[in-house]
Symmetry: C2
Subunit: 549 residues, 2 copies
Amino acid sequence: MRIALCQINNTVGDLAGNSALIQRFARQAAEAGAELAVFPELALTGYPPRDLVEKPSFLERTAEALTELVDATRHLPLGLIVGYVGRAPAGSARRATNSAALIEGGRVLFRQTKMLLPTYDVFDEWRNFQPAEKQEIVEFRGTRIALTICEDAWNDKQFWERPLYKNDPVEALVRQGAQIVISINGSPYDTAKRAVRRQMFSAMALRYGLPHVYVNMVGGNDQLVFDGSSFAMDSAGAVISSLKSFEEDMVLFESEGCTGELHDTHPSETSAVYDALVLGTRDYLRKCGFKGVLLGLSGGIDSTLVACVAADAVGKENVVGVGMPGPYSSDHSVKDARDLAENLGIRFEMAPITSAYDEVLRSLDPIFQGARRDVTEENVQARLRGLTLMALSNKWGALVLTTGNKSEIAVGYCTLYGDMCGGLAVISDVPKTMVYELCREVNRRKGPVIPESVFTKPPSAELRPDQKDSDSLPEYDVLDRILKAYVEELKPPALIASEQNVPMELVRDIVNKVDRNEYKRQQAAPGLRVTSKAFGIGRRFPIAQRFFE
Amino acid sequence: MRIALCQINNTVGDLAGNSALIQRFARQAAEAGAELAVFPELALTGYPPRDLVEKPSFLERTAEALTELVDATRHLPLGLIVGYVGRAPAGSARRATNSAALIEGGRVLFRQTKMLLPTYDVFDEWRNFQPAEKQEIVEFRGTRIALTICEDAWNDKQFWERPLYKNDPVEALVRQGAQIVISINGSPYDTAKRAVRRQMFSAMALRYGLPHVYVNMVGGNDQLVFDGSSFAMDSAGAVISSLKSFEEDMVLFESEGCTGELHDTHPSETSAVYDALVLGTRDYLRKCGFKGVLLGLSGGIDSTLVACVAADAVGKENVVGVGMPGPYSSDHSVKDARDLAENLGIRFEMAPITSAYDEVLRSLDPIFQGARRDVTEENVQARLRGLTLMALSNKWGALVLTTGNKSEIAVGYCTLYGDMCGGLAVISDVPKTMVYELCREVNRRKGPVIPESVFTKPPSAELRPDQKDSDSLPEYDVLDRILKAYVEELKPPALIASEQNVPMELVRDIVNKVDRNEYKRQQAAPGLRVTSKAFGIGRRFPIAQRFFE
């Protein structure tokens, strides 16, 4: 059978738009001679719909949209596999199901409902969906298909040391006599994910001796970036067809002869992270209805990276960088910011905060009564910058991008309502050391748009005279290794200290900073996830608590 | 058997502190002649620990703390039932369990693990815990006890129209020959909860013909306020022992003769909401390590209520109200604020924002280039107030309380990084109409501390000349009814319009405002939950989405 892998970028809740997109790809697939067009998990509704599925009106309108899609594709000479939110059987505890329909000739031939509901990290599916109690294979044009939805194919008991569930739906379907496994997915990107998927599916294909088709969605939805990277494998686990990462794409796979087409993927994971950030930013803006963005350009490496990502995401003509020098800003910072803006071709505005800063301090004088200067005055500078950006945002209808990196946000080296102001935290899951790598990647791609001094000057917030990040933090390579071990791998401090050969007091100081700054992160802008454990919806800690390492 | 219901207020993660608290209550129970002291769900670790249980070090130190508690209570002449986080059996998908231990004479006699794991609204237990596969009764001093943990006793199939789970653990344990049902709980307050609990347990007690003991925790943990309100019932479902709401308490229950003691509960639910806010505020501050608070006092009804709650929560000497008049503030507002502060006996400071506002606008002039005034300038005022409060917070080490009510936050009638600045949103789950009721309650309790003009003047943000809330919103009683139907009851707009006899366009306008302001709420301070559906962790909607009613 000739199968089209349709890697679409849909929008959560946009039933009409998603349906139109599905129809467009289905027509293209038909024109290319496909007999079956396979779409991702929840293609019709978008993923993750979260508590939208708790609304009766959402379920009702989704059912209508599916009916309309069935009708609109009735004359196409092929079948469609389309994920949608279904209604749970009467008497179920939950209202909705995560389902897929096989559609052909104006009819729904078959429905499959997801059985394994991921409820960890960023996933909350057990909250929202009723699982299937059983699943069956379906025969379509003479081929018996095991149709599985995302997590259903992720519990292979031979591949994982500690499978999360008792059932292995793929094994059960293969036993029913399947000739091909088709897996539809909403599987978000992280730096390890693309490799793991191929390894696991390759192991399954080889063991079952069956071709496997893996279709993933592409696009950004809030904190998650879906990379696509769909593929089809032959029964020996070799990749026969592959689709691009971070772009919509369609490729054919011929399941009998096992022939297909290989579209390019990324040369390095650094390059993939950069494209993930671009796509996540572009889609957040587009799906929220924004055209332009603005950001503070300090001349530092973080805002530099965000400016580059923004220019690639929405076009340089839609990006404004704002220099907001204060009493302790250095001249070279402003120069670096201006040079970058010029090299990128983005608009640059200056909005100095010094006079407002002086006025705020003057008006607080009667209450402060000569109290010693401390972090208060540093935060006032950061907050006046936040206020300035938000004023421009209000006036222009442009979204503010925040520029804090993961290392800073982890230890609370950021000002709530100051540099944390904004609608999207573009690099909040990018450790500082990776920020440098990504900026090198930018210069590899674009030529030397980022001035060399941005790489070489010591990181500083410039909120007091001669301030350096290294005054209060270890070198970033040390910090980032500690943070990865603690935040991503949940290792206890003693183990981190011994494994990395750093003093226990340093590790304890860092992890306590992480714990004590939870309150800031819970008010942070949504941030794009690119590692295995990002701050945000995937990491849920109490604020008022007293467990310290 | 003489049972002590021990309603304690523990702190998440404070293993040593919680253990000491348990020991203190156990000694008191022993002195009162109890044979068994029953503590709430996760008494040793606090509830909800959330992702803390993903840390191996948390499980290790909890196991040590339980061992120490067993040892420390070995000479007491009674048994203890204590909730704790256990380690899941080897090979389980999840690391932790939600368990309870029966302790006596230096030994753990019995362990029960929770079977039904709530995963809806504010609960995420399926994310964090491995459920029990089976449960057993335990005999203690001649009495066969059905020991159940919270949700395990909340799936009564006769009481609920749509039970959430297939199993009914209570029924299964009663069938094993239990003579008494003991339920330990971490059940957060909302306005309906106290009545529902008693109704359900009464129905169960009557049907099974067994006495039921219900022990709930008390205290605030982040967004949740646990009200306590524990009780014991005889086998006819009559309340024999009852404990206070919103306070630590201990009461005895004699299970044979079914005798006990009734402690007072609240005369009205309005009064209960007020005490919930006081307790939630007090505990958030205490458990986060703050002593003092400050808040903007505008003379409006919202900040008035928050000031009253704060004074009751941490004492008037630890509250500072700040008047921050701007260009459009009325004289009577400042007077009302000052009068309130005087009546409450809290410190009042003035920090006018007008000069800083003028300076900010002057510095933005070159970029704005004479653009028409709009919401930008209103937000600058709100943000300068936020900046002022945060500066005082930094300088004094006091926490800022935000003063936005649920109605405003629902429709986005609030400024991100402006009046939304703060560590705790005290009344963010209190609809505006309930704000008025609670202020009346304050004056009933304290005498006329709130000036009558606060009740009678039309609500206004005073951000432009002659602004009134009613310029852009319907009357608050209409608004609140629409919001309750939409946010708490998830009703579709057409149904709301017909049920409440309001124009469909108005309903649609309101619910679209709710949907479009999701981005603001995701950066809001944690807010205390008092209704059945609060914004915050219990309501999870995507931001970048296009499903509109």
